[in-house]
């Protein structure tokens, strides 16, 4: 089995590496977009009375639809419906972003609503405007509270990104499956691929937790579970 490993995995390391970098690219931009969309949806839901129902509908849809279904829908239906996305990579990024934006919007909301009323009142009492309060008092604290959920969504994005191979985005999973289909020997390649994902996700969670704990330590707060 070892020379199988050499033949299939080590020899193809550069292809798998290329796949991994595509995965990283897709995950990075999806997560970024998800944060932006999620924040917007949350703020609209909380503070803009007229289109509040649209925001709620958006959030519910993003959370209730499986990522695979969203992926196919964005990839096959949107180009005809909206004219974009023009590439599969765009479709992958948008679909992944949609999925996470729903959860992030809800997390933002519970963070904002969970902030003690007194924090805002102290800011109002010294005469700060609504925007100043949001920017300087509410958002920094909300981000700190939300950190574990943000990290969790990062891992969800990475795990869901494995599906973009289905619409022919050349990510790690795609390259791995290509090798398997070429050689009909799935054990080494698939196991290695699985382990790469597991290790990558584990490392990112550890790193993020370390950073978050460092911040909490700075402010004198206890470390989170």
């Amino acid at each position: 089995m070892l020379d199988n490993f050499n033949r299939l995995v080590l020899a193809n390391l550069h292809t798998l590496g290329a796949g991994l970098s595509v995965t990283a690219y897709v995950c990075f931009f999806s997560f970024l977009l998800a944060v932006v969309l999620g924040a917007m949806a949350c703020l609209v839901r909380l503070y803009v009375p007229f289109i509040r129902i649209v925001a709620i509908g958006y959030i519910e849809f993003c959370r209730a639809t499986p990522i695979f279904v969203q992926l196919l829908w964005v990839n096959y239906v949107w180009p005809e419906l909206f004219g974009f996305p023009k590439s599969v990579v765009g479709a992958g990024i948008i679909a992944l972003a949609l999925q996470s934006s729903g959860y992030l919007a809800e997390t933002f909301r519970s963070g904002i609503e969970g902030l003690p009323k007194g924090q805002r009142e102290a800011a109002l009492a010294v005469g700060m405007t609504h925007f100043q309060i949001m920017r300087r008092i509410v958002m920094p604290q909300v981000l700190l509270v939300m950190a574990p959920s943000l990290v969790n969504q990062m891992t969800v994005v990475i795990k869901s990104s494995t599906l973009v191979s289905v619409i022919a985005i050349p990510d790690l999973m795609y390259e791995a499956l290509k090798i398997v289909n070429a050689w009909f020997e799935p054990i080494e390649v698939l196991t290695s691929t699985a382990l790469i994902y597991v290790v990558a996700i584990f490392l990112i969670s550890m790193l993020a937790k370390r950073v978050s704990d460092r911040f909490r330590n700075k402010y004198g707060l206890a470390a989170q579970a």
Partner: protein, 233 residues
Amino acid sequence: MWDSLRQSLDLTLFWEYRTILLRGLLQNIYIFFGGALLATALAFAIGAARLSKRGTVRVLSTGYAELFRNTPEYVFLIWVYYVLPIIFSRLLATKFNFSPYAAAVLALGVSYSGFLSETVRAGILAIPRTHIDAAMALGMSRWMIMRRIIAPQAIRRMLPEALNQYVSLFKATSLVSLIAVEDLMYQVSMITVHEMRPLPLYTGAALLYCGIIIAAAQCIQHLSDRWRQRGWA
């Protein structure tokens, strides 16, 4: 664009094929129940093991949970379907094959047992030590304590979060079309190839899942609120 919008919302095509599509959905439901059962059984075992007094048991079970929480479901599904049979064949020295259904149930069940074991563990830990102390002071045996004091409370506390996990599991069953299970999405792609009209079908599938999940989530929310009112969870 409006033409396409009308077309994509023209769900009559969806309606036309409703029998086949619903039969596909049924596959999702079967796999969901199978997976949920397996995940729950494993979760209780692993969850309890994580609280064991024996260090090795604790480490192994925590490792199990961490492993499956960090593994992408799709990758694991493919692995179970393609790699596991080969490993079993070599170990048992016979030809071994998984049906796609079995692979799906196994993969999803094991995958989500990781998350559920964390829920189980949290539910058990949430029971105040004092309750157990009181039971021990009254002379109850460990088994009796588990059965009459811990389990009822733990299960009630776990239920809301566990139900959320089950909803995620149901969403994950949409993946099984990728190992050739004839579920809803499988039928949708088949019909698309046949009819060449992806818009209403994919939109319809999305709305169908959306509807089911939102309805389920509302029920869960309603039940959770009622339980919380009664002081259960």
